[in-house]
Amino acid sequence: MSVLHQFRDSTRAQAIIERIRGRSTGDISIMEFCGGHTVAIFRSGIRTVMPEHVRMLSGPGCPVCVTSNGDLDRAVALAKTPGVILTTYGDMLKVPGSRESLMQVRAQGYQVEIVYSTLDALKLAAAHPDREVVFFAIGFETTAPAAAAAVLQAQAKGVRNFSICSVMKLTIPGAKALLAMGEVKVDGVIGPGHVSSIIGSDAWRFLPEEYDIPVAISGFEPLDLLAATDAIMQMHEEKRPALVNSYSRVVRPEGNRKAWGAVERVFSLAEASWRGFGSIPESGLVLREEFSDFNADLRFDVTVEDSTEHPACRCGEVLRGVLTPPECSVFGTACTPESPLGPCMVSSEGSCAAYYHYQRQMA
């Protein structure tokens, strides 16, 4: 049996589901903080096998979704700057900004290119020495090492026409902001897999230690997620909140020091604006002064004003776990993946998109 199949084994899944059903936790709300988990949970139908008293909530784990419209509008303005080729991840293109999306900007003849990593953007810069290649860097701790590597490479090679507009964010300040708001009851957290492989599982110790919330770091296979859910329920049942690493085949307690070291060398912490949360101090990554040459915000003079969101869109509440997508009055009607009103319906990791694709008419 292949390694992958082993983690999808249905008899083992059934056994864990039975255990979950047998636990006497009472009503319990478990939140995941990772867009990849949101999708995996929906795809595997985990919500449909949970007993009624277990509520699965999605938090602000989708990097495209938490990008504020103010930041997106800045990317739009950069894309319209003469000589600029704006590069970013594919999911970002369809997100409606205050006035237009990057897709619409591209249709007007401006150059917006989809890349798979910051290094692709750097390659594009080498191929177009007469143009300014700007990378609109969204994402969490997982994408930051590649961004740092690209900047270091650009510096080493003396690339002059490459810069990044960083709106990258850190998950832990985001999680803390959500808990501080106190709008939703969170009894347990499924800790992100890829993010934790970089920052380490120990970074999540604050949950049990400061908030009495059990946390289990999980991988992306259905069995990983079921095991993490069960571990959280057991800790809740026994009233012994702790940190469990159910993804130890990838995640180490200290994370990937080397990768994170590069991030710290290139970036420093700054206030960042999150959709649904507003400004969160020390939650964003901006280029350190010594890398100012690669800072698109300093190289190009763009200012945006009056950023707004669609009045009907409730992505902010969806991202805070206060609202489930079908509770949004335009879900599946005025707002669909083909004509989205907010990023949560566009991004492949957005909650609204996951609901729409996998559970729309299941109720």
Binding site: S2, L4, D91, E349
Partner: protein
């Protein structure tokens, strides 16, 4: 051939075009119909309804593990006829060549088409060639059309699925899509995934030898089985339920999909068919399918149900349920 590259004059109607046809196409595709050398091929009508189909092939890269645009162009059109219950009689081939195309590449592709047509026993009966300026097409585009005859008593239609019917597939899914995507992205796997391109008309013939009451047949090409099943659910106004555990997906395809961020349900297949048959006939049809090499991996993947018409659902490996939606937009890789 005298020239090592395709020149505009190869499509001009003059002597160079004549040479290309006489020296490359005619010897490769040789058959009595083509030898008629008229503006049209005349084919006897053995009786029955005529099935007619066309498809254009623009795949990039033109050569990929397990096949090329040439095999696709022959098999794809044969399969479009076959899944309608038709016995293919002949194909037309229209080629659009880019100026500067490597002659050796064209010869390779033509040779592959010749082999595909001979192995399938379906002649290429008429053809056309055009050459366009460099940059006006990507190396080579091929259009093939095909005609076939549907014998009496066969009624295959996307509208015919009935609650209680079994959903069968002739073999593993996702192979073609992974073969092309991995080539395109320059990814190499230790066990390379090869395209499943193959003709299905003989498989269909042996299925009909068991029963004529096959309700629906489709080849899940672009958009994969998810798209095909959604089309059928919509046309027949029924629900379709598939079992994740039953889906035949090779470990190589699963691994490649995880790596490339692809979903095998949406990947193209070029040598597989989905059949929807009355439950009572399902085992017999499956046995006939497995008796042919093209259907060796045939299995049952689900059933047609009455509730939630138009929706395809999946019983997941862990016993949950989810929708299998049509694809919206391109498939995008994970970013986090």
């Amino acid at each position: 051939m005298k020239h090592s590259q395709i020149l505009l004059a190869h499509g001009s109607g003059g002597s160079m075009m004549h040479d290309l046809i006489q020296e490359l196409f005619l010897p490769a595709f040789d058959n009595p119909f083509l030898r008629q050398a008229n503006d049209q091929a005349l084919i006897d009508n053995p009786g029955g309804r005529i099935a007619f189909t066309t498809d254009s092939y623009v795949v990039q890269p033109v050569i990929f593990p397990g096949g090329s645009i040439g095999e696709l162009a022959v098999h794809g059109t044969i399969n479009d006829l076959a899944v309608g219950g038709a016995r293919p009689l002949g194909l037309s081939v229209g080629m659009i060549l880019e100026e500067g195309l490597d002659m050796a590449l064209l010869e390779d592709i033509v040779g592959r088409m010749k082999n595909a047509s001979e192995e399938a026993g379906v002649p290429i009966v008429t053809g056309d060639t055009k050459v366009v300026e460099r940059g006006s097409c990507d190396k080579i585009f091929i259009n093939t059309s095909g005609i076939g005859i549907v014998p009496g008593g066969i009624d295959i239609d996307g509208k015919n699925a009935r609650p209680g019917d079994a959903v069968l597939i002739s073999g593993s899914i996702g192979d073609h899509g992974v073969a092309v995507m991995s080539e395109r992205r320059g990814v190499q796997f230790s066990t390379p995934v090869v395209s499943d391109t193959q003709p299905l008309h003989q498989l269909v013939k042996s299925m009909f030898s068991v029963t004529h009451s096959i309700h629906v047949m489709r080849d899940p090409t672009r958009g994969g089985i998810a798209t095909t099943l959604n089309e059928i659910a919509g046309q027949s106004r029924v629900g379709i339920e598939i079992d994740e555990e039953a889906l035949p997906i090779s470990p190589e395809v699963t691994g490649a999909c995880d790596l490339l961020g692809l979903d095998p349900l949406y990947l193209a297949n070029e040598g597989k068919l989905i059949a929807i048959v009355p439950e009572a006939q399902a085992d017999g049809v499956l046995e006939a399918m497995r008796g042919r090499p093209e259907g060796a991996g045939a299995c049952r993947i689900g059933r047609v149900v009455e509730d939630r018409p138009g929706i395809v659902r999946m019983r997941t490996g862990i016993g949950g349920t989810r929708i299998v939606n049509v694809l919206s937009g391109e498939m995008l890789p994970r970013i986090c």
